[in-house]
């Protein structure tokens, strides 16, 4: 059974260009049907968006680790889920497990970017949206919302689960909460052999596809900035 946070490599069969499979978090798994939610970013996702029912894709997975549920000493903490853009694809499966025992902060540029907002709103115990243009929820970023949310409250009361742009994750790390983040790195193999997906951590490089994609957010060294 695939777990929230795990991903699949998805490829277009019989093509040399694009050559490599692309990683996508599993968005839904129901009645033997796997669903992915993706944003068109480049060549591969553009071709994927033109597929019609009956077309074939190749998949490899489930791969990687998953979000640890709030268990043991973390049981009493409130799960705080923070999604930026398509990061929601990775966090929605977790939200479906946690349901009302959660706070969900969802940020994006504008209302159109906040996909699946109704499902998220319906499931979460507490829901706050943030858009840069104010077209949905509060005006600002997801990080602004979280900063306000925890102000004056005990940080140990929360357990962070974050997925989104690296800039957002880095800012969240600065808030000093305990928790996890899912990292996106370019991947060639998805199975641990190419070493292309290295994420720098306080204990050295780790493979996002194998030791990740979910990391302890306080362990990650954000390199691209």
């Amino acid at each position: 059974m695939p777990m929230p946070g795990q991903f699949f490599m998805v490829g277009l069969p019989g093509r040399l260009d694009p050559l490599l499979k692309r990683p996508f978090g599993l968005f839904r798994h129901e009645d033997g049907l796997l669903s992915f939610m993706y944003r068109v970013r480049g060549k591969g996702t553009l071709i994927m968006s033109g597929l019609v029912p009956g077309d074939t894709v190749e998949i490899l997975g489930p791969l990687g680790n998953h979000y640890p549920l709030p268990e043991g000493k973390y049981r009493i903490r409130k799960p705080l889920l923070v999604a930026g853009g398509t990061g929601v694809a990775s966090l929605l499966p977790l939200l479906r497990e946690l349901k009302k025992n959660s706070i969900f902060v969802y940020g994006g540029r504008n209302r159109d970017e906040l996909l699946c907002i109704d499902e998220v709103r319906g499931l979460a115990g507490e829901f706050i949206a943030a858009t840069q243009d104010g077209s949905e929820g509060v005006r600002g970023t997801a990080v602004d919302v979280v900063t306000d949310l925890i102000r004056g409250r005990d940080k140990d009361g929360f357990l962070l689960y974050a997925c989104g742009p690296a800039g957002m994750l880095k800012s969240l790390q600065g808030l000093g909460l305990q928790g996890y983040c899912a990292m996106e790195e370019n991947m060639a193999c998805g199975t641990g052999v190419c070493l292309g997906c290295a994420v720098k951590t306080s204990t050295g490089y780790k493979r996002a596809c194998t030791e990740g994609p979910v990391f302890d957010i306080n362990e990650v060294v954000f390199e691209r900035f």
């Binding site: 050559l19 790195e185 991947m187 193999c189 290295a198 490089y205």
Partner: protein, 311 residues
């Protein structure tokens, strides 16, 4: 003809008989154990493991890889666990997989290569591939692969000390002229040459004006380099009598056959394993299928079988 009636065996020198000509390419099958969940490693001629150095190397910052038309550029920077951990933790597991094991090594000096090779001979590997062609590390490696004098000295030094494992020298596509490097390897007693390593290359994002690889330059691999690799294998095999191992963009049995016709005795499958983890086995099955279809019983009948001139 069933698969067992076909003879696919090849010899890498006197020392390394392989039951078939298909190996993994270094850096694309980890330390061997990683591929065992996708196919039985013992089916392959040999496993060539990730390159190792004397001390552990952390590797380069990301992005380390980017895709380009029909290929990819990588600059991993030879991230590896280092000789000691390799021998203690990785090699015993790899050896238990049942396939001959070829270690791929890289040093900053000839002395370092010798030190690593000696330790590996003692630990028991079937072959040692000298990586003198990695474009992604600053010191050593390719410095030997592009300069004939230090290249020759290096192989002489390693050969003098190593008698057990087969020695394979992995050539860079930038070695000029490639025939001279292959001949030098043969004269200094190498058991085989393998080629090609990745082709130095870069990719740029016109919007951000930034290189798509953090290191700016990396190595191109995959189908995009196959025609270059074929040409270099063809030239090299004409220059030497030791076996030539063909590498570069091989995805199918037919790709492998093309290299064998150009003069390769064996092949390695690299980037294709990222697309399909079982690619090396599919290449092997493809070779068998081709031989059956053409009624060829012994693979050696195909080596260098390129037909040229008027038909």
């Amino acid at each position: 003809m069933s698969g067992s009636e076909l003879n696919l065996s090849v010899n890498i020198g006197q020392k390394l008989p392989l039951k078939n000509p298909v190996m993994t390419a270094s850096g694309t099958c980890g330390y061997g154990a990683e591929v065992a969940r996708f196919y039985e490693p013992a089916r392959l001629g040999a496993l060539v493991l990730k390159g190792i150095s004397l001390t552990p190397w952390p590797g380069n910052p990301c992005p380390r890889i980017t895709e380009t038309a029909c290929g990819m550029i990588n600059s991993i920077g030879l991230q590896n666990v280092g000789l000691k951990a390799f021998i203690k933790e990785k090699l015993p597991v790899a050896k238990a997989l049942g396939s001959p094991i070829i270690a791929n090594i890289l040093g900053g000096s000839a002395g370092e290569y010798v030190k690593i090779a000696r330790a590996l001979e003692e630990a028991g590997v079937d072959g040692i591939e000298l990586n003198v062609s990695c474009p992604n590390v600053k010191k050593g490696g390719i410095a030997f692969g592009l300069d004939l004098k230090s290249f020759t000295k290096l192989i002489k030094a390693v050969r003098k000390d190593i008698s057990g494992p087969a020695i394979i020298v992995k050539l860079s596509p930038g070695a000029q002229p490639i025939e001279a490097f292959a001949r030098a390897a043969q004269e200094e007693g190498a058991d085989a040459v393998s080629l090609i390593n990745t082709v130095p290359a870069m990719a740029i994002d016109a919007d951000s004006r930034r290189p798509l690889i953090r290191n700016i330059v990396g190595g191109l691999s995959g189908p995009a380099i196959k025609p270059i690799a074929l040409w270099l294998v063809y030239k090299t095999s004409k220059a030497v009598t030791i076996p030539v191992i063909g590498i570069g963009g091989i995805r199918t049995g037919r790709d492998a056959i093309e290299f064998i016709l150009a003069g390769a005795s064996a092949v390695q499958v690299g980037t294709a394993s990222f697309v399909d983890p079982a690619a090396p086995v599919r290449v092997l099955e493809g070779i068998e299928g081709y031989m059956r279809e053409k009624g060829i019983k012994d693979i050696s009948a195909l080596v260098g079988g390129l037909v040229t001139g008027c038909s």
